[in-house]
């Protein structure tokens, strides 16, 4: 019996505001415990929340970039539960009227383009942090740090459209990439500014209804998300195959054990008793504000990749690498092209020489490259025009990297330009032919591809400063046209 998994994600992302969502306290990470606090975020009696407009703006940015409709009116609600790190005994969140709804995210395109529906994006405040260990009296007390309480979050909820653990990981990764490109979130999963929970069920292929789902928590990396889901999918299939039923529950991923364990069942689930937050007005977002924010959206990575492919004829692989794998790669590429270089050559240089050197430095961002895009364009131009050979061009690039000098200066001062002096090359050709009688013999017998070897020998003698096209032509002339030239 074949099964398919059905997966939906809930992604919590901290908004990159300077201050908290309902008060003026700083959001800086790593401050001494309980220093970024005030009556509002400590939930002192009588204190009241006031909504941070910048947080709303960032949430709208995320909503627009994920293809959502921004609701003209959304409502904050109280989510009631007791926990020591929750100062008011309720979290201010949004419930049945979230800020953004009905979005869509594209996965791939690879073998097949898939779309993941975005059910909703709502705003909420973060809770504080309970410290159960590591303090002198941790055997008797739990300490609470409220610096994080009131930090603005968005929760992005997807439709149950994902059908594999790998797709779920790609979805999470794609959302992260978009939020970072927007300046909405810093993408830092270790510090907890981006977190993900997954709802997963399995069903027999072809079945229309969903199976019973479990919620997997604590999967804060793409790899853990994929592994946790793979584990959970297998577990659920095993339960069904052995005649059992999947229990609706919340399960915690343990990355050390490599398994999920039950945290609480549906019967133990909270009744959050949501109701509209009477301390805040409904959030009204005029369409003009939405449009103003829309006009400031940057080009998103996937859009840029598609544009690079269309405008410059780059392959999917090349464009993906420039946009996603090297930070600043696409910007650099476009500046090289803008300075007059041919796109394919620019892409090759970035992916070849530059990437190799970055790897040596242990870096993956273009800010570590000392050669400006304009300087690279100049070098590419010299190579394209045949002023230097490709071998020499790499040497020149080396020197540009270490000395910061420009390509033309290096070539001129060190006499690295290829010689176009036919008589000088002809002399080299003559000596190469004399030294390689075997190859000449083979050529004459019709094995014309040895010409490459002979050109190489001429180049070697000329220490790279010879135009290989001229060498090729002179060799062919000297060998007397026994084989037809392949149109060189």
């Amino acid at each position: 019996m074949r099964y398919e998994p059905v997966i939906g994600l809930e992604i919590h992302a901290q908004l990159l505001t300077a201050t908290k969502i309902f008060c003026g306290c700083a959001t800086t990470f790593g401050a001494p415990p309980n220093t970024n606090v005030c009556p509002v975020c400590l939930g002192l009696p009588g204190a009241l929340p006031v909504l941070n407009r910048r947080a709303v703006e960032l949430a709208i940015r995320a909503g627009l970039a994920l293809g959502c409709r921004i609701q003209a009116r959304s409502i904050f609600a109280r989510k009631n539960y007791f926990y020591p790190d929750l100062p008011k005994g309720y979290q201010i969140s949004q419930y049945d009227q979230p800020l953004a709804v009905e979005g869509r995210l594209e996965l791939g395109p690879d073998a097949r383009t898939r779309y993941v529906g975005i059910t909703r994006i709502h705003m909420e405040e973060d809770a504080g942090k309970s410290l159960h260990h590591g303090l002198p009296d941790s055997d008797r007390y739990t300490a609470v740090d409220f610096n994080r309480a009131g930090v603005p979050l968005i929760e992005i909820v997807t439709e149950p459209d994902l059908r594999s653990a790998a797709d779920a990981a790609e979805c999470f990764s794609r959302v992260r990439e978009i939020l970072v490109a927007l300046g909405v979130n810093d993408g830092n999963m270790e510090e907890g500014s981006l977190r993900c929970d997954a709802n997963v069920s399995v069903r027999r292929v072809g079945e229309a209804t969903f199976g019973t789902k479990t919620e997997v928590k604590n999967v804060n990396s793409f790899r853990f998300l994929q592994k946790a889901l793979e584990y959970e999918i297998e577990r659920q299939i095993d339960v069904l195959e052995s005649g059992g039923r999947v229990v609706q529950e919340t399960r915690l991923w343990d990355s050390d054990l490599g398994e999920t364990t039950s945290m609480r069942t549906k019967e133990e689930a909270h009744d959050y008793r949501y109701f509209p937050e009477p301390d805040l007005q409904p959030l009204d977002v005029p369409q003009a504000w939405v449009e103003a924010i829309r006009s400031t959206l940057p080009e998103l990575p996937e859009e840029r990749k598609q544009r690079l492919m269309a405008a410059h004829g780059l392959s999917d692989y090349d464009a993906d690498l420039l946009v996603r794998l090297i930070t600043g790669g696409a910007d650099y590429f476009e500046r090289v092209v803008a300075a007059g270089a041919q796109a394919k050559a620019a892409s090759n240089w970035i992916q070849g020489e530059i990437r190799r050197r970055l790897k040596e430095l242990g870096r993956d961002d273009m800010s570590a490259v000392p050669v400006t895009p304009e300087a690279l364009a100049e070098l590419i131009d010299l190579a394209e025009r045949g002023v230097v050979s490709s071998t020499v061009a790499k040497d020149v690039f080396d020197r540009m990297w270490t000395t910061g000098r420009r390509a033309k200066a290096i070539v001129d001062e060190e006499g690295l330009a290829q010689t176009g002096d036919t008589s000088a090359i002809a002399a080299l050709v003559e000596s190469v032919l004399a030294e390689n009688a075997d190859a000449v013999e083979q050529y004459r017998k019709g094995k014309t591809n040895v010409i490459g070897f002979l050109v190489g020998q001429v180049m070697k003698k000329g220490k790279g400063r010879i135009d290989p096209k001229v060498a090729n032509q002179l060799l062919r002339d000297a060998l007397g046209g026994a084989a037809s030239s392949p149109g060189a």
Binding site: P39, L48, R78, P84, F275
Partner: protein, 476 residues
């Protein structure tokens, strides 16, 4: 006699301004009066004698511009935060709690030159109509110490009625200013929801709570509202509406003013003496040129149950923060977190608060939310709509403030439903967000005061103040 309007805030301020009196002397006089009367009446939970006198002396020394309440002592209900002073909201939970910040109204009062002299007794977290639900005790009615002063802002009403301070602030959620004002024979005003900042008011029911003044005269209430009202960036529900000058609205002229009386609602059971004082008041208004007519407010008959669903739902969340974690009472010797919560809240809250938290929790629970909370909000909308329709034909709505005069302390203690009915005529205005004032309108045979309630259009405190002032002038 409990009070004399010769010691109105305005008269006191003018006497200080004229040099007849220093702020320090005025403050000392208030402290003396408290020392003489409070052992019996118990209006105050805390008195800041030193803090108040120091401030008074500083005011006397200052040569800068004088605020409209320069040197006037004022008492605050003990659910309004004053930085560094104990603020209990009438609860054991906060018996030793000292907030680190001032409520917005406190900042505004002090900027206007008022001297906060102490904190008054109130029902725990404003839940009650007699101050008997206060952990620190009831206050007593100055007209008859065996009678309840009303609640929940009972201590503030007593402080003003007994002449201890010319002004006091209370908070009104379902009648907690107007009902004690009526019981104690003083003026009590609940402003339009959003007129006065709630920042620093310990919440009972956030969509209903509103701070307002007690005073011996309508003019003092208007003066105080002038000082405390207006937009506040710290309270999103404080409307961005600049208030008018309320004191300037008191022209004494109400000729042609239309007064609506919801006769159908009043048939619910009003004490005969209270009803008699009410009819006399209507006659007085007519003599002043007002036109009295009958109106319908059909849904106000169910205002009490609607109120007890909405208010308790909000309270169940508002009071969740009292968990023993960060401040306030924490039960000793709990073995784990659950036990700490259970014991802290069991020992820290009184029975009425627990009753309302449980009711509110139930109202919001899965499966009951639509039947109770949503339904109550729908009826709340109908109550508001009734008023909107009525205000097409009339300018103010008049009712007795309470169905009876002050009841004996202890009489309703064990009968919460009967206690809730003391709010019959006062819960509609907060549910509809409207301003309402209680102004003294006579006495029962037992020499207990009776209050006339006037409810106005949203943001139109000016009209109810003008009517109440014109009415009050006929009685002095």
């Amino acid at each position: 006699m409990p009070h004399s309007s010769a010691h109105s805030a305005r008269a006191l301020r003018d006497a200080i301004a004229n040099g007849q009196l220093t702020a320090e002397a005025a403050c000392q006089a208030a402290l003396d009066r408290i020392a003489a009367r409070d052992p019996e009446l118990h209006a105050f939970h805390t008195v800041f004698a030193e803090r108040a006198l120091e401030r008074a002396r500083a005011l006397d020394r200052s040569t800068g511009p004088r605020g409209p309440l320069h040197g006037v002592p004022i008492a605050l209900k003990d659910n309004i935060t004053v930085a560094g002073t104990v603020t209990t909201a009438g609860s054991k939970m906060l018996a030793t709690y000292r907030p680190p910040y001032d409520a917005t109204v406190v900042e505004r009062l002090e900027a206007a030159g008022a001297i906060v002299i102490g904190k008054t007794i109130c029902d725990e977290f404003s839940m009650g109509s007699s101050t008997e639900n206060c952990a620190f005790g009831p206050s007593r009615n100055p007209w008859n110490p065996d009678r309840a002063p009303g609640g929940s802002s009972g201590g503030s009403a007593v402080a003003v009625a007994a002449g201890m301070t010319p002004l006091a602030l209370g908070s009104d959620t379902g009648g907690s200013i107007r009902q004690p004002a009526a019981f104690c024979g003083v003026v009590g005003l609940k402003p339009t929801y959003g007129r006065v900042s709630r920042y620093g008011l310990i919440a009972y029911a956030s969509s209903l709570d509103q701070i307002g003044p007690f005073a011996t005269t309508v003019r003092d209430a208007a003066l105080c509202l002038d000082v405390i009202s207006g937009p506040d960036p710290k309270d999103s529900t404080a409307a961005a509406v600049e208030p008018p000058k309320f004191e300037a609205a008191l022209t004494g002229d109400i000729a042609g003013l239309r007064v609506g009386v919801p006769r159908g609602w009043l048939r619910e059971g009003v004490d005969t003496e209270v009803m008699a004082r009410f009819e006399e008041s209507l006659a007085t208004l007519e003599r002043l040129g007002a036109v009295v007519s009958e109106i319908e407010l059909p849904h106000s008959r169910v205002a009490v149950p609607v109120y007890y669903l909405v208010a308790t739902a909000e309270a169940s969340a508002n009071l969740a923060r009292f968990d023993g974690v960060r401040y306030g009472y924490r039960a000793p010797d709990a073995r784990d977190l659950g036990e700490m919560y259970d014991r802290t809240r069991d020992q820290g809250f009184g029975p009425e608060v627990k009753r309302r938290i449980m009711l509110g929790t139930y109202v919001l629970s899965a499966g009951y939310y639509d039947a109770y909370y949503v339904k109550a909000q729908q009826v709340r909308t109908l109550i508001r709509r009734d008023f909107d329709e009525a205000f097409a034909d009339v300018d103010v709505v008049a009712t007795p403030t309470t169905p009876t005069a002050a009841f004996p302390l202890g009489a309703l203690r064990d009968d919460p439903l009967k206690m809730y009915l003391a709010d019959t005529f006062t819960v509609s205005a907060p549910l509809a967000g409207l301003p309402a004032i209680s102004v003294p309108c006579g006495w029962t045979d037992d020499r207990l005061p009776v209050g006339l309630q006037l409810t106005g259009r949203a943001w139109d405190e000016a009209t109810i103040l003008r009517v109440a002032d014109a009415f009050e002038r006929t009685r002095h």
